[in-house]
């Protein structure tokens, strides 16, 4: 079995929670729908989770519960409310949330100083992450941004991943659903795979500081 996955039974034992808690947290949106991965096993269909993500999330939920946070408050903290996050480009600049390089690239394609839509904030955050890690160059950043601006709206309500791929000196970016398995020919290199919901989450965490 995939070592990155944890079965539901293992998860309950390891995290010390009950079925009732797990289902309750799922109903409240504390654990995202697409972390519940159904797989065929030798006894039948069972549910698995991305091990590190789910354990980290449960840790966070429990620590917030220890501080007497309600489930709704926890849901707010872990699952960003998309509409709430709205800033103009100049506010972003002042906040220092993203690097100057990312802002410069971004302002070349956006018009004026209207409040950024949530998708644009995510695009900006994803671009910033890739530039900071040095995974993509300035020019390639433009490809990333174009891909996001063009296609991210179509993923509304679904969790999407951004892939950045190089092959023999050519590079391209693509968006896939987060649960998608993608394979390329041998010469291609996946330079980065970014979960856009996580980009949104980290952005949100930083705006709260």
């Amino acid at each position: 079995m995939d070592p990155d996955l944890i079965s539901k039974k293992e998860l309950l034992a390891e995290a010390g929670i009950s079925y009732g808690q797990l289902y309750r947290w799922k109903r409240k949106g504390l654990i995202p729908e697409d972390w519940f991965v159904r797989k065929s096993t030798f006894t039948g269909q069972e549910t698995f989770f991305p091990r590190e993500k789910v354990l980290a999330r449960i840790e966070k939920i429990k620590s917030m519960q220890d501080e007497d946070a309600s489930l709704d408050e926890i849901a707010d903290a872990v699952a960003p409310d998309l509409a709430e996050l709205s800033m103009t480009l100049s506010q972003v600049r002042e906040s220092g949330l993203v690097s100057a390089e990312a802002l410069e690239l971004f302002s070349a394609v956006s018009d004026g100083d209207a409040p950024l839509a949530f998708g644009e904030m995510v695009s900006l955050s994803a671009l910033d992450t890739l530039l900071k890690t040095g995974d993509v160059s300035q020019d390639e950043g433009r490809i990333v941004l174009d891909t996001l601006q063009e296609n991210y709206p179509q993923f509304e309500g679904r969790s999407a991943d951004l892939l950045f791929v190089r092959r023999m000196g050519l590079s391209t970016a693509l968006l896939v659903t987060s649960d998608a398995e993608v394979r390329f020919d041998r010469a291609a290199r996946v330079i980065a795979r970014l979960n856009l919901s996580e980009c949104a989450e980290s952005l949100r965490a930083r705006t709260r500081r």
Binding site: I17, Y19, R24
Partner: protein, 246 residues
């Protein structure tokens, strides 16, 4: 919401209307609304079809209603027949007649008095009452307490407390009666909860803290953390204790 103008629609014969903002929408004869509707109350006494989304504080179906789109309602009551093509969100759902929903459902409370068919997942804080249901995906509820009166099924049921009962005066532990009551049976792949109490249920796996498998049940595997109580008439192939959580 202060300046909004809401007119009413009331049909006696028949007619087709445009979507929009309404106070009261009442179909006494037959009628169709094309486009999205936002109404305070939406009532179908005859036959009503909406082609678009419907959002209303209360929806009551006494006749036959078709919703070709999503539905959002604080109170949704079906006494007749209703079909919702896509998903739905309810504060309180009272399904007394027949309700068929193509997508997934999120509700605070579901009161079952008839038959409920859901093409996706269903989540609610409480599902109570009696009748039949058919959930193609996961039924996730804080409290499920239902008397099964018609053949019912779900792929999975998960939650805090899951109680499935047979109708009163139904079957005793006398297994010879099982075939007679086969039609009032719940069939499910997996049930997982803190407290699970079952009658007349067929399941592949039942997992929980405190599990009671009552009369008329057929379960391949029970995994329990704290307690397990099988009834005389239950068929359980294997029951094993797993390490208790918390």
């Amino acid at each position: 919401m202060t300046d909004e103008v809401r007119t009413d629609i009331k049909t006696a014969g028949g007619g087709a209307f445009q979507g929009g903002l309404y106070g009261e929408v009442v179909f006494n004869g037959s009628g169709t609304i094309n486009g999205d509707v936002d109404a305070i109350t939406y009532r179908v006494n005859g036959a009503g079809t909406s082609n678009g989304r419907v959002k209303a504080q209360s929806v009551t179906v006494n006749g036959t209603a078709n919703f070709n789109g999503e539905v959002q309602a604080n109170e949704f009551t079906v006494n007749g027949d209703a079909t919702i093509r896509d998903g739905a969100g309810f504060g309180r759902l009272v399904a007394k007649g027949n309700l068929s929903i193509g997508g997934s459902v999120a509700a605070h409370q579901i009161e079952l008095r008839g038959f409920l068919r859901i093409g996706g997942d269903c989540q609610a804080e409480a599902v109570t009452g009696e009748g039949g249901f058919n959930v193609a995906g996961l039924l996730n509820a804080g409290n499920v307490d239902v008397i099964v009166q018609a053949p019912s099924s779900a792929r999975e049921i998960g939650g805090e407390r899951i109680v499935v009962r047979q109708p009163a005066g139904g079957l005793s532990s006398f297994t010879g009666l099982m075939t007679v009551f086969a039609e009032k049976r719940l069939t499910v792949d997996t049930i997982e909860g803190d407290v699970v109490w079952l009658e007349n249920t067929t399941a592949r796996v039942v997992r929980g803290k405190n599990v009671t498998v009552g009369a008329g049940c057929a379960v391949d595997l029970v995994e329990y953390a704290e307690s397990y109580t099988p009834a005389g008439g239950a068929q359980v192939r294997e029951a094993r204790q797993v390490s208790p959580t918390q």
